[in-house]
């Protein structure tokens, strides 16, 4: 018997799963539906569950400073991802192929830099940026995001390189190829899926950051997560805009994380940064 007779998808179980899912996701769904309501509908009691959805909130966000902060988020997240990959992918390859002593200690030291609470980095970064004028700049954000994405790249890419047999490279080396050529022409193409997954996770970590952006930016480089919160402080409680802003901030995350679902655990356990 190939199918297990012990674990069965009974109808009762499927119902239980569906109900649990609905309960778990209801806070999230509530925010989503609110983003399509007018402020009057939001304040109505009892809340109308059936209503004509409006794009009003999204349109007013588009015309506000929020769109600039959205672009800031996109820029800082993608640039830091590119930088982290540029430095981290060769380093992960080196660590994978390096058989010397201290390899594990070094890998662990690299990981530790990610486990530290963000506040430990914010104080020095803030003082340093203040001194050299990097506060409230995209460059400043890219630098700090790279600092926590680089260990992630090294940590995540290493297992991908580990799966490539060294004999494959040795064959090419015997044929007279240079190590650099072997790396770029043979090894790299084989780990493309790994690079893609790692890139998405790096992007998400930078995109999700709130803490660094809150402290290191003011207006010019303000990112979307900080902009959402600013709707609460200065423009009163415009729940429609807050809900729409929140939904826009989570949209890329939802799309991307579905794509890298398989790698989520290794990415998260490499010391999640949630500032």
């Amino acid at each position: 018997m190939s199918e297990s007779s012990f674990r069965k998808a009974t109808p009762g179980r499927l119902v239980a799963i569906t109900v649990t899912l609905l309960i778990l996701l209801s806070p999230f769904l509530w925010l989503l539906q609110m983003s399509f309501k007018t402020n009057d509908q939001i304040l109505q009691f009892p809340p109308p569950l059936i209503f004509t959805p409006t794009l009003e909130n999204y349109i007013s966000l588009w015309h506000s400073a929020f769109s600039a902060s959205f672009v800031n988020s996109l820029l800082s997240a993608s640039l830091s991802t590119a930088l982290a990959l540029l430095f981290g992918v060769p380093a992960a390859y080196a660590l994978s192929r390096w058989a010397g002593r201290g390899k594990h200690a070094l890998s662990f030291a690299i990981l530790v830099t990610r486990m530290a609470p963000p506040i430990a980095f914010t104080i020095p970064f803030f003082l340093f940026y203040r001194w050299i004028g990097l506060l409230d700049t995209i460059t400043g954000l890219v630098l700090v995001y790279t600092s926590f994405n680089l260990p992630l790249v090294i940590w995540m890419m290493q297992p991908f390189f580990d799966t490539i047999p060294v004999s494959l490279e040795e064959a090419a080396l015997v044929d007279g190829a240079r190590t650099r050529t072997v790396f770029t022409k043979i090894v790299l193409p084989m780990v493309t899926p790994g690079i893609a997954a790692t890139a998405i996770l790096c992007f998400l970590y930078a995109w999700n950051d709130f803490f660094f952006a809150l402290i290191l930016t003011r207006t010019n480089a303000r990112t979307a997560p900080v902009a959402v919160v600013n709707f609460m402080n200065y423009e009163g409680w415009e729940w429609g805009k807050i809900a729409a802003g929140g939904s826009l901030v989570m949209a890329p995350v939802l799309i991307f994380s579905l794509a890298v679902r398989r790698y989520l655990v290794s990415g998260l356990t490499a010391g999640a940064v949630k500032g």
Binding site: T20, I123, F128, S147, L204, F210, I242, V249
Partner: protein
């Protein structure tokens, strides 16, 4: 020889970058923790006349001591809930079915959402005038207290939100472990007349205990960083009921301008996190040795 040079060449730039963005800031943090540094006081950044003053003040600072207690309560409660509920969820979803496999993805949503969006969602749930929670209570003629501004409930409100956010993580880890258990074991026990509870206790639980411990440790290390929830929901209040060490350090540095003192608080926090991380590695090694 050429190959070894290439490997060194591939590794060096990253090590230099990591040294610059992680090791140097850590050293600088320790240096500022030895000074009475305030941005508004000239010369305070280089005043090393009484280097251990900040550290000497810590044990007598009621807010610092309180923040450790709050952190302990928040961490222990949310980690316990996350491990327990994550395990239950994993047991529920550990069935071979296309539909369930499809559904699993949606269970991960809270964890991948930007932490500030999670905070906004719970701000909404805890806002009496528009919250579905309060609507439901009202419909049942039941009066809910203002959760986030109540001394008795504020920390619980944070714990609930944090559990919601990170439950998918423990769920994912436990599910992965459950799927490595061969069905033959439970089937054999079933044939021998074991009840479902007995199978769970004697077959399933021993298998997943290591992963329960490890995922709990990961969550414990990360629970120190819970910032957006506290920032948005309670601001550390009412009073200092939800003021964890991380938040206290933030307020010290960026609200009251006590950068030197805040650095000392942060250094102590770093040492605690490093201690827990080392414990995690040690346990991982032990597990490998057993396997």
């Amino acid at each position: 020889m050429e190959r070894r040079r290439f490997i060194a060449f591939a590794l060096t730039p990253s090590l230099i970058v990591l040294f610059a963005v992680a090791v140097l800031p850590a050293i600088y943090l320790i240096v500022t923790s030895l000074t009475p540094f305030q941005l508004t006081t000239p010369g305070s950044a280089t005043d090393f006349s009484d280097p251990f003053r900040n550290y000497a003040l810590l044990p007598g600072d009621p807010r610092f001591v309180n923040s450790l207690a709050v952190q302990a309560k928040l961490s222990v409660a949310s980690v316990l809930f996350q491990v327990l509920l994550g395990m239950l969820l994993a047991l529920l979803l550990n069935v071979p079915s296309r539909f369930v496999e499809f559904a699993r993805t949606f269970f991960l949503i809270p964890m991948v959402l930007p932490p500030i969006v999670v905070a906004v969602i719970w701000k909404l749930i805890y806002a009496p005038d528009i919250s579905p929670l309060y609507y439901a209570a009202q419909a049942l003629h039941f009066t809910l207290p203002a959760l986030t501004s109540s001394v008795d409930f504020a920390l619980t409100a944070i714990i609930i939100a944090d559990t919601w956010e990170w439950l998918p993580f423990t769920f994912l880890m436990v599910l992965a472990a459950l799927q490595t258990i061969p069905d033959e074991y439970s089937e054999a026990a079933l044939v021998d007349g074991a009840s479902k509870l007995q199978i769970f206790w004697y077959v399933t639980l021993p298998f997943i205990t290591p992963i329960l411990v490890i995922s709990g440790m990961f969550r414990l290390i990360d629970s120190v960083k819970a910032f957006p929830l506290i920032f948005l929901l309670t601001g550390g209040g009412p009073g200092t009921v939800t003021e964890v060490t991380n938040y206290y350090a933030y307020l010290l540095a960026f609200d009251t301008n006590e950068i030197g003192y805040s650095s000392a608080v942060t250094v102590v926090m770093l040492l605690l996190v490093c201690g827990i991380s080392l414990g995690l590695v040690w346990m991982g090694r032990r597990k490998e040795a057993l396997a």
